[in-house]
């Protein structure tokens, strides 16, 4: 065995032993924390059976056979109760629902010299060029020659001479070092490296997946929640659409489609789980990484395809989001798939167009921004490659692909017919400047280009650290790996030089289109994740060229160079993983609503659920003020059977009026609420049962039991009196000043309902009905008014108009229900236009609640 082999073997053995230590540590951690995979596996079988029973019951049954329908429900319930002990079958009661280039070399090659042969195709012509490095001269005069050469290039100071000498020595050392020459078959190494890169990528996304990022965000939970409800409701969404194109949770959330469908089978197998929902997303990104490698390998014929995979996950933005269940990252991965298949198609493999259509559709349907991304990309590529598309020999495949595209587009058409305002609603919800009526088109256009430029700004991607929402960044890491920047620059140079080459022009299109969707709203890293795909491709191409160049220089160390590059990038990645896992939890210490929103798993899964299972009497009131959409988190973590014992409720409500409290009721409070509760005189005693700490060790959540004091009722009475006092304000409108008296509000201002912008909101404190009493300085002719309010199931609007003398002209009373999302209600006076001096509007939430938070967006008086 040669020294090289011995060295190689010993190195590997050391690595194996180190891996064993690491494995031991991981296993020990698993043992301490409990193996999250184990419980998932055990649950899978039971869940499938239960779901099957539920599905059978929830699907519409033949109406002619009522008896058998009833029986099947009972059977299903029995099975469920027996197998799982759960009673999440409430829905069952609702039955309604080529060529070889030969190069000949005719030359004498002196010993020790190296040749670089470059073959290039330009304008359809293949050219070859030869560069020769002469051998190092014999030792006796070599030093002189070398010195002369050096002195010709550099100033003859000692530093330069020293550096030159060092360089010569270093090269010699590298050339003679006993580094391993692993195998003669370089393609085997490259294939192995590709697999190893995928393995490293997998490790990067899967190790302690449930622990980093430390939060579990609502947007991550909704996919699986929607998938679960989709199954429960007999393959329908909340709007009762069978196999819906999109799932909508209301304006606060994005519309989702593919990201929900992806979670269906994992949910069936494992139930709701942070690990599973994130892993699904992570595996989709693995697919994206694989497509990047394929683009490099098959399209750009790079021998360093593995570099693409490693460099993709080296980007902090990608790494972080690949470990979440956000749909943006899935969209980006599908975009990579689209690019791969389209590039194959453009490389002559015509049938790959079907793959492009399918992955394009997946990207299109994954998120609203995907529609824009794919729409613009497809349009540009259609125009750019029009001559290629129209070639006769492509016709039959293209027609079929077009048919496929039309077929895949039909679900969108179906959705658009029912929800034609979807795009504008989404833009408005995201606060897009396009929905701002105050801005002119040119202003919007300018703003668009500004945002677009920001999306392409290298400073934003490579140099900015610690800016943006801390949930989406890693401390002291730029969004993209800074070390990739030279590679990107090299890649861009390649693209510019080869822009006539379809492969490079498509890459350029991908790069330039990527910021467009975000620019419609506002550039942020999550809205730009697909941008990382072309950038990574550029970086990998750039570095591939560099590595190939280095290989020519050190042709005896080809494998060593590859290995070194591989190890370097892998080491960086693994360091980043370690850094994230070890230090990530304390990078930022704002764990609250406006920060990391830490605590979903810790509150619901680790604390509440075990307590509910252990003690059948205990109930929880959980503060919703530490994360967005905590009701979705509640739904995610707490099984239906326990849901009635957990309510999202804030302790402050109990400080405003007497509400039922039992010794079995436990409050989950954030520190502010706990402080207020402690300060409040309405509570006698606050018994802290447990404290859930933040990762920095400070108290994050207090689990406490509260008890009213003896004089609580008296205090409530006083406070209620104060809250019932209406507010008064003056509003300038049409040159007149209206005196308005209205119920107390807790958000916004009265002006917001008259500003013509439905995006601005005024929210009532508690009054039900919420009253708005407008006194006009002069009598005014009104035929009615329109009111834009929040989505609630049913409400009553009572309007009373008064004459100049103060007498009541008429009262209009109307009930409304199921008016859709943020409806605008028009109330027309039956008497037609009437002269009024005062208008009193009372909005009652029909859910029979004493208090409610009435949301009013707009009030428009109709003359």
């Amino acid at each position: 065995m040669s020294n090289d082999q011995l060295f190689f073997s010993l190195l590997l053995i050391i690595i194996f032993v180190v891996l064993d230590f690491y494995l031991y540590r991981v296993r020990t951690d698993f043992h301490k924390r409990g193996n999250p995979w184990g419980s998932l596996r055990e649950k899978a079988g039971t869940r499938l059976t239960t779901w099957w029973a539920q599905l059978g019951a929830s699907l519409p049954q033949p109406s002619t056979n009522i008896a058998s329908q009833k029986n099947s429900f009972e059977t299903a319930q029995e099975i469920t109760a027996m197998d799982t002990g759960t009673t999440d079958l409430l829905t069952l009661h609702d039955p309604s629902t080529g060529g070889v280039i030969e190069v000949k070399l005719n030359s004498e090659i002196p010993e020790g010299s190296s040749l670089l042969i470059t073959i290039k195709k330009e304008n359809g012509q293949v050219r070859a060029s030869l560069e020769q490095d002469l051998p190092v001269a014999p030792k006796e005069d070599g030093g002189k020659k070398s010195t002369e050469k050096t002195s010709g290039k550099h100033s003859p100071d000692m530093l330069s001479l020293g550096l030159a000498d060092f360089w010569v020595k270093a090269k010699r050392l590298i050339a003679t070092a006993p580094f391993p020459r692993i195998a003669t078959d370089i393609s085997t190494w490259q294939s192995g490296a590709l697999v190893a890169a995928l393995a490293i990528y997998f490790i990067m996304i899967v190790v302690r997946l449930d622990q980093f990022p430390i939060y579990f965000f609502t947007d991550e939970a909704v996919h699986m929640n929607l998938a679960a409800d989709f199954l429960r409701d007999g393959f329908r969404n909340y709007q009762k659409e069978p196999f819906p194109t999109y799932f909508s949770l209301g304006p606060m959330f994005s519309i989702n489609s593919v990201s929900v469908y992806l979670q269906v089978i994992p949910y069936l197998l494992f139930g709701k789980s942070v690990l599973v929902t994130r892993l699904v997303s992570g595996l989709v990104t693995l697919l994206g990484a694989w497509f990047i490698a394929l683009i490099l390998k098959d399209i750009f014929k790079s021998r360093f395809a593995w570099l693409g995979i490693l460099m993709l996950i080296a980007n902090a933005a990608w790494f972080l989001h690949a470990r979440t269940a956000f749909e943006y990252i899935e969209l980006a991965s599908f975009f990579a798939g689209f690019l791969y298949f389209y590039l194959r198609y453009r490389s002559g493999k015509i049938r790959s167009i079907y793959g492009a259509v399918i992955f394009g559709a997946l990207a299109f349907y994954t998120h609203g921004l995907g529609q824009v991304l794919m729409g613009v990309t497809v349009l540009l590529l259609l125009l750019l490659d029009i001559r290629y598309h129209l070639k006769l020999e492509h016709r039959s495949d293209l027609i079929r692909a077009l048919a496929l595209a039309v077929l895949l587009f039909l679900p969108f058409v179906r959705y658009y017919i029912s929800h034609h305002d979807m795009l504008s609603a989404q833009l408005a919800q995201r606060g897009s400047y396009w929905s701002n009526p105050d801005l002119g088109f040119s202003d919007k256009l300018l703003r668009f280009f500004g945002e677009y430029a920001k999306g392409l700004n290298p400073a934003f991607w490579f140099f900015e650290t610690n800016t943006g929402l801390i949930r989406h960044i890693m401390k002291n890491y730029s969004h993209l790996w800074l070390a990739a920047l030279p590679g990107v620059a090299l890649g861009i140079i390649q693209v510019i030089r080869n822009i006539r080459d379809a492969r490079y022009s498509i890459l350029a299109v991908a790069l330039l289109v990527s910021p467009v969707p975000a620019a419609l709203v506002e550039v942020s890293v999550t809205r730009m994740l697909w941008f990382i795909i072309p950038v990574t491709l550029l970086a990998a191409l750039g570095y591939s060229t560099f590595l190939a160049w280095v290989e020519v220089r050190f042709k005896n160390r080809v494998l060593l160079i590859s290995l070194a590059a591989f190890l370097l990038v892998s080491a960086n990645n693994l360091f980043m993983l370690r850094d994230a896992l070890v230090n990530g939890p304390t990078w930022y210490e704002n764990y609250s609503l406006y920060g990391l929103q830490f605590g979903a798993r810790q509150v619901f899964e680790d604390t509440i659920l075990p307590a509910l299972q252990e003690d059948p009497g205990v109930e929880f009131r959980v503060s919703p003020n530490w994360a967005n959409g905590t009701d979705q988190l509640l739904k995610f973590f707490i099984p239906e059977a326990y849901m009635s014992r957990v309510r999202m409720d804030v302790v402050d409500n109990y400080m405003q009026k007497r509400l039922p409290l039992s010794p079995q009721t436990l409050f989950v409070m954030i520190p502010d609420e706990y402080e207020r509760a402690v300060q409040s005189a309405v509570f006698d005693e606050i018994q802290v049962v447990d404290i859930i700490p933040y990762p920095n060790g400070k108290p994050g959540f207090y689990i406490a039991r509260v008890e009213y004091s003896e004089n609580a009722d008296a205090i409530f009475e006083q406070e209620a009196l104060a809250r019932r006092q209406p507010m008064k304000d003056s509003v300038e409108m049409n040159g007149e000043t209206y005196e308005i008296t209205y119920s107390r509000i807790e958000a916004g201002q009265i002006l917001d309902i008259f500003d013509g912008n439905p995006g601005s909101l005024m929210r009532g404190l508690e009054a039900n009905p919420f009253t708005i009493d407008i006194v006009f300085p002069n009598t005014k002719t009104l035929s009615g008014f329109s009111l834009t309010i929040a989505t609630i199931p049913g409400y009553n609007i009572k309007s009373t108009v008064f004459a100049v003398d103060g007498s009541e002209i008429e009262t209009y009373n109307q009930d409304f229900s199921e008016q859709g999302s943020d409806p605008t209600i028009n109330v027309n006076f039956e008497a037609g236009s009437v002269m009024v001096s005062r208008l009193l509007i009372e909005i009652t939430d029909n859910r029979m609640m004493e208090t409610t938070k009435t949301h009013i967006r707009e009030l428009e008086l109709i003359p």
């Binding site: 065995m1 082999q5 590997l12 053995i13 194996f16 891996l19 064993d20 031991y24 043992h31 079988g45």
Partner: protein
Amino acid sequence: MTGEKIRTIALLAASVFVAAVAQYVLLGADKTSAAFWSVSQWTENFFNNKSALPGLLIYLAAGILFVAGLRNAHDSGEELTFAPAPISTSPVFGFWMTGLGLSILVAYYARNPGLISGSEYALGALWILAIVLFSVSVIVNQGPIRNASHRFFSWLKKNKLEILAFLAILSISFFVRFWDAELHPYSFINDEGEVGKFALCILEGVNTNCTNPFRIGWSAQPVLSFVPGAISVYFLGNTAIAIRLVSIVSGTLAVLGVYFFCREVFNMKIALLASLILATLPVHVHFSRIGVHNIMDSVYSTWTLWLIFRGAKRNSTTSYLAAGIISALGMYTYPGSRLAFAMGIGALVYIILRYRGFFCAQHKNVFIYLLAVAITAAPIWAYFSAYPDQFMARIRTEGIFTNGIMQNAVSQDAQIEYLLSQLLKSSLVFIASGAPSGFFYSPQPYLSPIVAACLVLGLVLVVWRIKDAPNIVLLAWFWAAIILGSTFTGGPPSSQRMLMSSPAAAIIAAVALGKISDMFARYSGAGLRLAAVIPILVILLNGAQNIYFYFYEYRAGHYFEDSTNELTYESRTQIASLKENGRFYLIGDPKVYVIFGNFEYFAPGVPKENFNTVTREALSALPKGQDALFIAPLLRQADIERIATWIPGGQWTEVHRRNQPAEVLYFSYKISAHQLTEFIP
């Protein structure tokens, strides 16, 4: 006696009687007739004793009666029960990755043997280290077994009778295999000499073809399979017994494996019966006494399946680990043992599929099994992946689908007919026909009539309850080697390739016999012990018959004897005595050549040459300065006599066959170096 009892006894007795008739009919049929082996001619020869059909039909009737009797008695099969998942313990540090990694490293070098030239032993050591590290990790991770020694010794105390019986079987097995092994079967064949040659090559440690344990050696067998022989030769010298001892021990281990398997899956009675049947089964004894490696597949199959069932029933990690290692070691020996590896995997897969919850409870151990297989077999897999021709070498030469035999069967009908005759020859050799080929050359079927009848009844029973894991495994175990090892290869019955079936046959026969004895115990009023003793006595009687046959009839019939092998074996002392001072010249064409293994094994340092063109000139051209020993078989008597005439004064010897002394085996003529030098043509 109730009606049920009467019916049961009547049906079972009838089945035994009808089976006996079937056996009689089959044995009496004219098997020398081509019609007997041709299925298409069965019906037309139904009544003239040249068809196997009557015997098989009567056996079918016997089987139906047997099943009917058992059904009437409401007999239920032995359903396996499996241990639940073990209680998880705290993780303990283990060399899991190191074991796996080392194995991959070794596999890499096994695939690229040129890279480690000169370090082959280190490679082997690394491989052993990988297995040891992994095994230690598994065992340590499993944690200590509480009161293991106490439980073991208390079990020994409670089961003295069984231990005595077990030791008796072990002794019988070993003794029957070891006794007079040097001379029976006679003689030491040249294939054994080849094995010996390889053992010597390993001991020399010079040729990397022999020192690299992950290469292929003689007869497409991995080098590692010759290592036990090398160890034996190291201690016992280059003798016949040194090579045969490996098979003797292996054969004994196979009997042991059968006992353990039946003890685990069935019960002690069946274990005793089956191991006794196998202990004296002539074909198994025969191949346990020959120094080639055919016997290995019966060892690997029994031990692999026993350990898998043991692991499955007890959820025993160490059993799974051992099963993995042993089944993978099967890849390193006689190619037929690869089937044992496949059997193990197949059995496990069936158990997983058949028994709900099994995989959930035992998945960790299943993974340990797979990892153990991977770690142990990785180097040879890597080698075979680099050199697939070597993996297929034996299959290519022996397989009828690859060596052109099937292609020569012109029509599709002829091919089917041919395959059926192959199958009949391969399977009926167990019960009805002799084994005229395949290194056994026995005039009798493998099994005595009584055991043969039990085998057929047992096969019916096993097919009837095929869903049970032991039964389907037994069935596959029995038929796999018959089909793959013999039916699909040339010259059936290929006894040397069907040894894996013999343990299964013994077990199936024992199961039937055990079942009959159970029924006898239940309905006859005889005690359980009596019911157990009677079949054991029957089997002991059968064993005595077998021993008599193999050590007397078979030997006296000279069935295995072959003058070529005898020549190469009997001349060993003469040739070896030349040492460095002489050369050996063989005038053997067209019968025997110096390349034959025995010459080199028994006389490794002596220069050897074929000397088939016997002329004065050729004689004078021989190297001078060394004594010359000429040996010629009877066929070349004239040639060697000419040498004696040309160079008189040498030492002439006439050697007769050991067991047939009337026949001359060979002539030898030895001349000194001086005489050779003096010779003038």
